[in-house]
């Protein structure tokens, strides 16, 4: 192992230094030539009039036409072996739902091998259903004497804070007492946002100033919850890219802090925006490694995006979707129903 690392590290060191040097040399060699006056920073011109609504570009109209594939798949009457055209339509449906190239290819292989049996739509539905995991119960009880903690992780802008607000509302409506931990100490005003949700839902909020240690906030919240005998702590974290080791390490630390003493992390939810494409898979992989993600909350499913990437995530990583967000209202976060979801993937 250490050899591989030494090589990779050495290669990077040498490579980066070489690139920087190469660029400096080039910059130096170019320097004398650039005696032209620099371009003016700003060109002030009369502004053209405000754009009017254009005719839809030709490519766009073609997209309207392709929407029909979702209808055609339902009306396809083929049973048994499928032809090239039919397979192409199935492929298009899956790709357009963001299911991804690898999962799509594997489903198509199955269809090619086994045929459509009792029809294309039911067979496809079964194939998609088979990619999804079976166990998706939500754990909400800690062992006796400890406080259950739900930790929320994800990249920026997927709706973590909103998800927490809605889940707090849901749990309080179910008669449980909830403490919210404003662990997103990075984004400006994230704690205010969570505070507004706390007010709306009647949860208690624990927060400190911006830039504070997120682990400390969550630790305080758990302490408060334990002292008051609350049932559940919902812990927010700052959105972070999934390709930064430092940020992932910080997250791992936050999870460790939340999972000791009176706190017990019973669920770690990765919040995922349904409009996300293939990158969602690498997000899930990284967050799984850093924070032992136990479930996914798929938000913004009420838009036009179909969220098919979770099929690939469940198939490859076995992380179940547990909740879906289907609207902006406080009650619009509901448990995930796999059959309904699969149906929605191939619905027009």
């Amino acid at each position: 192992m250490i050899v591989a690392i030494a090589i990779v590290a050495a290669l990077l060191v040498v490579g980066i230094v070489a690139l920087v040097i190469a660029r400096r040399r080039r910059a130096r060699s170019l320097a004398p030539a650039s005696d032209q006056p620099p371009l003016p920073q700003v060109l002030v011109t009369e502004v053209v009039e405000r754009p009017t609504l254009d005719e839809a570009p030709s490519l766009g109209t073609r997209i309207g036409a392709t929407r029909g594939v979702f209808e055609r798949i339902r009306s396809m009457s083929a049973t048994g072996a499928l032809g090239v055209d039919e397979l192409a339509i199935v492929e298009e449906v899956l790709l357009r739902s963001d299911v991804g190239v690898a999962t799509t290819a594997s489903i198509l292989d199955g269809l090619r091998r086994d045929g459509a049996g009792d029809g294309v739509a039911p067979t496809l539905r079964r194939a998609l259903r088979a990619c999804l995991v079976d166990e998706r119960s939500v754990r909400d009880r800690a062992e006796p004497g400890r406080v259950a903690v739900w930790l929320f992780v994800g990249v920026n802008g997927v709706g973590k804070t909103t998800t927490i607000g809605k889940l707090a509302h849901r749990e309080i409506a179910a008669g449980r007492s909830v403490v919210l931990a404003a662990g997103d100490t990075f984004r400006a005003a994230a704690a205010e946002q969570l505070g507004q949700w706390a007010e709306r839902s009647g949860a208690e909020l624990v927060r400190v100033g911006e830039g504070a240690d997120p682990g400390a906030v969550i630790h305080d919240a758990i302490g408060r919850a334990a002292a008051r005998g609350a049932d559940l702590v919902l812990a927010d974290t700052a959105g972070r890219r999934s390709n930064s080791t430092n940020l992932l390490e910080e997250l791992a630390k936050v999870r460790r802090v939340a999972d000791r003493g009176p706190g017990q992390v019973v669920e770690t939810f990765m919040v995922l925006d349904a409009t996300t494409g293939q990158n969602a898979l690498s997000q899930a992989r990284e967050f799984l490694a850093a924070a032992a993600v136990s479930g996914i909350v798929l938000t913004k499913l009420d838009g036009t995006a179909r969220g098919g990437i979770v099929v690939a995530i469940e198939r490859e990583l076995g992380i179940p979707v547990k909740f879906v967000g289907v609207g902006e209202g406080v009650a619009d976060l509901i448990p995930f129903d796999p059959d309904e979801f699969v149906d929605s993937l191939i619905r027009a």
Binding site: M1, I2, V3, A4, I5, I7, A9, A10, L11, L12, V13, V14, G15, I16, V17, A18, L19, V20, I21, L30, V42, L43, V44, T45, V47, P51, T52, L53, D54, A56, L59, G60, I63, E92, L95, V101, V155, G157, A188, A189, E192, Q193, Q196, R241, S242, N243, T245, N246, T275, T276, G277, Q278, N279, A280, K300, D302, G303, T304, A305, E328
Partner: protein, 485 residues
């Protein structure tokens, strides 16, 4: 994880060369690979088809260039086609003759509008303008507060009041005119495209303020839905440009191509990090490399220059070249590299690195680097300067001191020796470094890097296959030009 397109084309047989041109069958195979690569990068299916049609025209009947393998030639064509599509008609930011110039930002929830608004304001400020921010997002709790905080970080005033979004926008523009600000940036509420009410709201804001520019903010990680989004906004607002956010993530960013393809308006700005300054004009050539998974040498260099300590690098780079490189230097540089991020992430940006190398690097646990550091730190100052004096008993002492094994110490010393020898051979050679890195890698592979041989052999070839990083940086300050709308 993904095959990069470059890897796939390595497999296109060199025997094609003798035929002089690509046959239809070759072309079909190549285009199928391009199709998968684009889909994996989240380019929308219809846009992929249009792209492939254009690519076929570009490649069909084209005589093979003798200095490139057929695979390289296809990649080159794809790369050029991508740049053409992405950068075809850029936008020139001009300013209203009667200030203020009004800019409306629209986009889906969570795309990064509020952050982009503050970054854009800072960018205009750096251009010598007096920007003004208007917080017309009254939908999301605390959005106004977020813009206030970001605005104060950027040193830009923020206008807000508690009325309706349209009133806020209108008054904000009037206020900007009154106090003599020349650029007004209006942040609007995030919305889902299906939501008629909010779409009407942003249209009303637009009608009330007559913006000179309307930018759509789009998340680089968006999937197939990017076109639906872009199209809905374009139909409602007549977009004048696209701002792509979250380009610092490892997403390929095919969404940019989708949005560009479907609404036909240029990508103007790219947001590349969490800090307010991480925002610049959009570079089509970099995006093209990124979509293809070919690495992004320029971004790597810029990241290096941003985070690395120039003195440390310069001093040790000099010694690296003349062969007097010590283990201290190695450690110093290693720490510089670690500051930039994970090895796996950096590897992804490095051009010409093969899939095997990339996956090897992404499997590397960065904490293992601590062991290397521990080994070096367990050496005396003299040992670090002259590794040759490290004999058996010193080795076992170092292994004990660092909590590793003698074997690990041996391997580190051996690797270091190879690296030093290699660099000495390269000497103060010419500036076209990257190909020589391939030699370095090949040498390392031959001499005992038993765990990674395949990757390294290919690395040598890969380095040469990748197009040389474009050295010229665009002159900052203006976006170049479509003639007129």
């Amino acid at each position: 994880m993904f095959d990069t397109l470059a890897d796939r084309f390595e497999r296109l047989s060199a025997s094609l060369r003798s035929r002089g041109r690509l046959s239809d069958a070759d072309l079909d195979g190549a285009l199928a690979d391009v199709r998968s690569a684009l889909l994996e990068a989240d380019v929308e299916l219809t846009v992929v088809r249009a792209f492939l049609d254009a690519l076929r025209v570009r490649l069909a009947g084209q005589a093979l260039n003798q200095s490139l393998t057929p695979g390289q030639q296809v990649i080159k064509a794809v790369h050029e086609q991508l740049i053409e599509v992405l950068g075809g008609s850029a936008l020139k930011v001009t300013y209203a003759s009667r200030p203020p110039t009004v800019i409306v930002l629209a986009g889906l929830q969570g795309a990064g509008k509020t952050t982009a608004a503050a970054k854009l304001a800072l960018w205009f400020k750096q251009q010598g303008r007096q920007p003004y921010l208007v917080a017309a997002d009254l939908q999301r709790p605390a959005a106004v507060q977020q813009l206030r905080v970001l605005g104060s970080q950027a040193g830009v005033d923020v206008f807000s009041d508690a009325s309706t979004p349209v009133d806020v926008a209108r008054r904000g523009v009037a206020e900007a005119a009154r106090i003599g600000r020349d650029v007004v940036i209006i942040d609007t509420a995030g919305r889902l495209t299906v939501d008629r009410e909010l779409m009407d709201e942003v249209r009303a804001i637009s009608d009330a303020t007559s913006p000179h520019y309307t930018f759509l903010v789009i998340d680089a990680a968006t999937g197939q839905d990017a076109v639906v989004t872009a199209r809905s906004f374009h139909d409602t607002l007549a977009l004048s440009g696209i701002v792509v956010s979250k380009l610092d993530y490892d997403a390929r960013g095919g969404a940019v191509l989708s949005a560009r393809g479907v609404v036909g308006c240029p990508v103007v700005f790219a947001s590349t990090g969490e800090k307010l300054g991480d925002f610049d004009l959009f570079h089509p050539d970099r995006m093209a490399s990124r979509i293809l998974g070919m690495g992004d040498a320029l971004s790597l260099i810029e990241q290096a220059e941003r985070t690395m300590d120039a003195d440390v690098v310069a001093a040790s780079a000099g010694r690296l070249m003349d062969g007097s490189f010590t283990l201290d230097d190695f450690l110093a540089q290693l720490n510089q590299v670690r500051k930039m991020g994970s090895l796996g992430g950096l590897m992804r940006l490095m051009p010409g690195v093969t899939k095997e190398m990339r996956s090897a690097a992404s499997n590397v646990d960065d904490r293992e680097l601590n062991k290397i550091e521990a080994i070096i730190r367990s050496m005396t100052a003299r040992e670090r300067r002259e590794p040759a004096i490290i004999d058996g008993s010193r080795r076992s002492r170092i292994a004990r001191g660092s909590g590793t094994t003698v074997n690990a110490v041996n391997q580190l010393l051996k690797q270091f020796g190879e690296m030093r020898k290699m660099m000495r051979q390269m000497g103060g050679a010419n500036p076209t470094m990257p190909p020589q890195m391939g030699k370095f890698a090949a040498l390392a592979a031959r001499r005992g890097a038993d765990s990674l041989p395949a990757g390294f052999e290919a690395l040598g070839a890969g380095m040469r296959a990748a197009p040389a990083p474009k050295g010229k940086k665009k002159k900052g300050g203006r976006v170049t030009p479509p003639k007129q709308r």
